[in-house]
Amino acid sequence: MTPWVMMRSAMPLSTMTLTDAAVTLALIMTSVAMFLALVRLVLGPSLPDRVVALDLIGTLSVGFIAAYDIATDQPILLDAATVVALVAFLATVAFAHYLERRARDD
C-alpha cells in the first residue's frame, strides 16, 4: 500500500484503501488522546497526576508506533515500541519509588 504519511499532499478520498482510512483514523484518535494527556500533565494538581499522565503518554506512543508501522509497512519500528514501553514502565516505577521515599522521610 502507499505510505500515505510520506506523501506531500493530501490523498484524495477515492484512492484511499480501507487500511489507509483506518490508519488515519487511529493516528488521529491517538494524537487527540496524547494531547488530552498533555493537558493533564500541565494541569495536574499533584505530582502523581503528572506521573500518571507521563505513563499514559508512553503507552499511547506504543500504540502510535504500531499504527505508524502499518502506515509505512516497516515492522522494524516494533523494536522502538518495545523500548518505549520499557522506558515508560521504568520511569513510572522510579518516580513512585522516590515519591514514597519522600513520604517516609517527612
Binding site: 487511529a26 488530552l36 494527556a37 508501522d69 516494533l78 514502565f89 516505577v93 513512585a96 515519591l99
Partner: protein, 145 residues
C-alpha cells in the same frame, strides 16, 4: 479479510486510546484517572499490536507483537499499583464522593484527609446514610463515569 480485520482492530484500539485520554482529563480524582488511563490504554495498545500482527502475518512479527503486548499487559497494572500506593501515602486527596477507604485505619500509613469527616472512616458505613448526609451524592461528576 485480513485487511478488514486489521483495520477494525486499529480503529477499536484508537477508540480505546481516545477513551483513556478523555478519562484522564474528565475523572474527578487521581485514582479514578489512573484506572481510566491504565485499563483503556492497555486494551488499546493490545488491539493495535494485534492489528499489526494481523496486517503483516509473519511469524517473527507476530512473535514480537505478542512480546510487546505481554510486556504491556504485565507492567501496566504493576505501575498503576505502585504509583497509587505512593500517591496514597503522600496524601493525595480522594474524591468527595468516596465512601470506602479501606486503608484509612492502617497505622503505618498517613492517609489522606478524610473527605467527609467520619463518613469515610470505615468501609462498613451504610452507603445510603452517607449519601443522605451528603445530599445529592454524585451530581457533578456522574457524567464523567
Amino acid at each position: 479479510m485480513t485487511e478488514v480485520l486489521s483495520s477494525l482492530l486499529l480503529v477499536i484500539g484508537g477508540a480505546f486510546m481516545l477513551l483513556a485520554g478523555v478519562g484522564i482529563v474528565r475523572m474527578p480524582d487521581l485514582f479514578m484517572r489512573m484506572q481510566a488511563a491504565t485499563k483503556a490504554a492497555t486494551l488499546g495498545v493490545g488491539c493495535m499490536l494485534f492489528a499489526v500482527a494481523v496486517h503483516f502475518g509473519e511469524l517473527a512479527i507476530t512473535a514480537r507483537c505478542m512480546l510487546v503486548t505481554a510486556f504491556v499487559f504485565l507492567t501496566a497494572p504493576l505501575a498503576a499499583h505502585v504509583i497509587a500506593r505512593a500517591a496514597y501515602s503522600i496524601g493525595v486527596p480522594l474524591w468527595k464522593g468516596t465512601f470506602c477507604d479501606e486503608l484509612h485505619d492502617q497505622k503505618d500509613q498517613q492517609g489522606p484527609p478524610s473527605p467527609e469527616g467520619s463518613a469515610a472512616m470505615s468501609g462498613q458505613t451504610d452507603s445510603k446514610e452517607t449519601a443522605a448526609a451528603r445530599g445529592t451524592p454524585s451530581d457533578d461528576n456522574a457524567g464523567a463515569a
